[in-house]
Symmetry: C2
Subunit: 357 residues, 2 copies
């Protein structure tokens, strides 16, 4: 690889001058030398060694992001928001997938710290795990002590800046909607119980049911992986245990899609025989059939806010921004069927909005 001094030598100038030309330094350089340097750069196909640059400049510019999995639409949307702000400010993003493995999350914090990122953003659910939480907080505190900025998205176990979707309110919305439709036997297809996202959403849902004089017993909840197959499998278990269910709340849209698959496989009509409500409103939600009724979270906006917090001026006290959840009524939730499973309920209501473009 050609180095800066190769370029300088070829151009017949000092490395200092070459550097100034290449970086567009404010210090003036004669047109003639500038041209010679640029010519040498082109001839040698010179590309500065990023590590040497980062080392020489004290300036830290990249931002580290840790998500569960970028290819999961939930995080893809958040990342889109993060990117938008970062790009505007000329920041490079280093994105790491923890695949919901706490240890890997810890490792990535170190890794990113080692890469001298200016800020760190952790997106995705927190864990109900004291030991882990303490470790993570120690690491983050150490990082902040050296001037690093930290923000978390959707997890409340860290004490710093945070952007929180209102998971609890979202759960509440889902519960209230189904109660309003007359459902009494409501099952839940939940993510891993160690995730705070799961428990928060569940808490809101439970609150809604309780307020209506209903309840949400543990036997109507099945925990599984937070993905399509987890949803399919949990739904199957739920139906096996309690065939009288008239509604299912899936704690994210991927699980909801799995739930729909299982229902279809079993010949249960949605929403005539059984209703389904999802969570997140990922883009695909409107394209499944029937289109998914779900709780929308402003995912892109969450990313935008988090990146703005972290790149903006620091605050003396941690800031927590709570972003509201919103119910999106589509076609998978309808009135509870009158009698038993054998009778189909009323027709689904007309679909609102969301027609193809």
């Amino acid at each position: 690889m050609a180095t800066l001094s190769d370029v300088a030598r070829r151009a017949g100038v000092s490395p200092a001058t070459a550097s100034r030309v290449i970086n567009g330094s404010s210090k003036p350089v004669t047109e003639e030398l500038r041209a010679r340097v640029l010519a040498a750069v082109a001839e040698l196909q010179y590309v500065p060694n990023a590590h040497a640059q980062l080392l020489a400049r004290s300036h830290r510019s990249a931002v580290g992001v840790i998500v569960h999995d970028v290819s999961d639409p939930y995080f893809a949307e958040i990342t889109r928001g993060l990117q938008r702000v970062a790009t505007d400010q000329g920041r490079l993003l280093m994105i790491c997938n923890s695949y919901r493995d706490p240890d890997r999350e810890l490792e990535y914090v170190e890794l990113l710290r080692g890469h001298q990122v200016a800020a760190l953003i952790l997106a995705g659910s927190g864990y109900h795990d004291q030991a882990f939480t303490r470790q993570l907080n120690e690491k983050l505190a150490a990082y902040e002590a050296t001037g690093g900025r930290v923000a978390v998205i959707g997890r409340h176990e860290h004490s710093g800046d945070a952007v929180m979707p209102d998971n609890r309110a979202g759960g509440y919305l889902a519960g209230r909607e189904l109660c309003g439709l007359g459902h009494r036997a409501i099952g839940v297809v939940a993510g891993p119980r160690i995730l705070t996202t799961t428990t928060d959403r569940l808490a809101g849902l439970r609150q809604a049911l309780t307020e209506q004089g209903r309840e949400l017993p543990e036997r109507r909840i099945r925990y599984a992986e937070f993905d399509r197959d987890g949803g399919a499998e949990a739904t199957a278990r739920l139906l096996d245990a309690d065939p009288e269910l008239t509604a299912i709340v899936a704690l994210n849209d991927s699980m909801a899609i799995g739930a729909l698959a299982t229902l279809r496989a079993r010949g249960l009509a949605v929403p005539q025989q059984i209703s389904v409500v999802g969570f997140d409103d990922m883009p695909i939600a409107r394209d499944v059939t029937p289109a998914l009724t779900t709780v929308r979270l402003p995912l892109v906006d969450m990313g935008v806010r988090a990146m703005s917090l972290v790149l903006g001026a620091g605050a003396p006290t941690p800031r927590v921004e709570v972003l509201p959840a919103e119910l999106v009524r589509r076609d998978t939730a309808g009135p509870a069927p009158r009698s038993s499973r054998a009778t189909a309920g009323s027709a689904p209501r007309a679909r609102r909005g969301d027609a193809a473009s």
Copy 2:
């Protein structure tokens, strides 16, 4: 940030010794000093500066990956394959999204080169653009000249190692299937015509139709963005121009989903009135209703192969691995309706496989 010499000072040893302990060097260090160093590391929460390390070691370990968009399921799957091999070999992946912008692709090649990656993988369609192709090849050649390894996935404009999905054969498969079902008026919802992926798939499709004595005139092709909304919009234009279409081939599954949305919005029954075939077999394909008939590409495997090529021994001549496409019959393609649009065709065939887990 604590530095290595801070650690050394605190442990009362030289930086050299500290470095040896931290990196597990083969050079022996007394147990006592080792313990002191490790204690100092823990107390100071020391994390080595990755840039300084990379600079000091001549050893290059990271691998650069350029894709159109990781959050697109097509690339998410490929990336999964890349990751698997990279992780096995202890390599870090740097993933960049070009968002199908050739200039950005060029920039990322430089950026990754600057970051001293050991290898570079470009995934995603190539472009019909002489000037760009030449520039890219120059940059890649320069990189290879300094010992960098390069592989491309799904693009044939580069002369080095390549993993190619058989796009043309896939297009052929889709065409043959529809011909076999008796379709004559087949429309195509295509991605941007500048992409080689588009033209390759189209070529295969055209060949199948030609062999059957049919044809594929340009007026039955609509080009749009390679995503859901592009598919929806192109389908609308196609139907407006030619309401007699009995089948639509979408050149990727995202577009197919958009197409289904448009058809549903217009009240056209799939596959009774109109058939749809997608391409890629992304995971969601089996979950839309009706489940999507599509051409499967071994995406994960493509990633695995590419990473193996690039991390394995070099070869004197470029290696090209062509991976086969395969038709996956589900529920969106059925026999062509007998007469006109008004009459529904025969019932869809029974759905094969793919039941919920």
